[in-house]
């Protein structure tokens, strides 16, 4: 049975679009038919993150307003023919569609794909409500920062108020070295504050920047730690039991001493 999952966050810039692109690609790599939908109308971005910006002819609003058929607007991925992008409109705004339109769209996509991922805009207003309207479940992306966690808490409340069940969490851009020095909230800190189930932790990783520069996604890069984390999350979404990557270092006095002088014993950084 198909599943429709919305990726959202409240705060902007925490990695929703990167997460959507990577999870979509990872699920396609695992042999599933996947549609990724850019629900950020007016601020289209999922296309550039996936390197598909030159292939856009029609967009989500064209589909909703009946100017084209769904299949005409879907763009096939460069690597996986069973992965498709439905781009957002760039010249319209969020009021161009309604939650009912989005539910109808989600149901149309269900018929063709195993997984449908909606990339939500930031915020808690119409765009966010549209993005979750058709979802069976919601995944919240946050980073270990006070502003992002506060917004995540607000979003959790809203998702529950809209009767979308209990959302699950992806903690993005964790810096294990900072956590072990006590300079960044840990996975446990964030989970304790938000009281939510964790679906994965993604380490802060430069390969995300370099991959995005080229319009590629990190899951295609075997050397990317973040890419591996996203692949693991995709498998967990499918219901597989995948152990969590060990990111945080056990910190002893020696480590802390080295930490204070800005050095670490060789090999201690993952």
């Amino acid at each position: 049975m198909s599943r429709v999952i919305t990726i959202t966050s409240g705060k902007g810039g925490v990695g929703k679009t990167t997460t959507t692109a990577n999870l979509g690609t990872a699920l396609a790599m695992q042999g599933l038919r996947v549609a990724v939908v850019d629900a950020d109308i007016g601020l289209r971005n999922l296309d550039v993150v996936m390197g598909l910006e030159n292939r856009i002819v029609y967009d989500l609003v064209d589909v909703v307003e009946g100017r084209c058929r769904l299949r005409q607007a879907l763009i096939k991925d460069k690597h996986f023919p069973d992965l498709c992008l439905l781009p957002a409109a760039q010249t319209r705004d969020k009021d161009a569609v309604s939650p009912d339109d989005m539910i109808a769209l989600a149901n149309q996509l269900r018929a063709e794909f195993d997984y449908v991922l909606f990339d939500s805009p930031a915020g808690i207003e119409a765009g966010f409500r549209n993005a979750i309207a058709g979802a069976d479940e919601v995944v919240i992306v946050t980073t270990p920062e006070v502003s992002a966690v506060r917004d995540a808490d607000r979003i959790i409340g809203l998702v529950e108020a809209f009767e979308k069940g209990h959302p699950r969490l992806i903690l993005n851009r964790l810096k294990p070295r900072m956590v072990s020095r006590g300079e960044m909230m840990s996975v446990e800190d964030v989970l304790q504050i938000l009281a939510i189930d964790l679906v994965g932790v993604v380490p802060d990783d430069e390969t995300i920047v370099t991959a995005t520069n080229r319009g590629e996604v990190a899951v295609l890069d075997r050397t990317s730690l973040a890419g591996r984390a996203f692949s693991d999350i995709a498998r967990r979404l499918k219901g597989e039991q995948v152990p969590f990557m060990v990111l945080e270092e056990q910190q002893g006095v020696i480590d802390r001493l080295f930490g204070m002088f800005g050095r670490r014993p060789r090999g201690s950084e993952r």
């Binding site: 506060r150 808490d153 020095r181 006590g182 960044m184 909230m185 800190d189 504050i193 204070m260």
Partner: protein
Amino acid sequence: MGFFNSLFSGKRDRSSDVARDRLLTVLVHDRVKLTPDMLEQLKAELSAVIAKYVPSVEPGEIEVSLMRGESSDHLKADIPLRRTT
């Protein structure tokens, strides 16, 4: 903050702990929808009511705060009384 303090004792100085504590406070306020302004007003009215029954209350010293607990949040009031001996 002393160098050795931070090395051996000062767990509370860690910025991650500060972040967590600040978040816990902010989230309780967000969830209860009580602004700092309203909290001040609550405090003023509370002292007025208490002063009616307990004359030895120190109105300026009443502390009202929202606390996050394990299973529920608490509105906590600390009301010091003047000693009349």
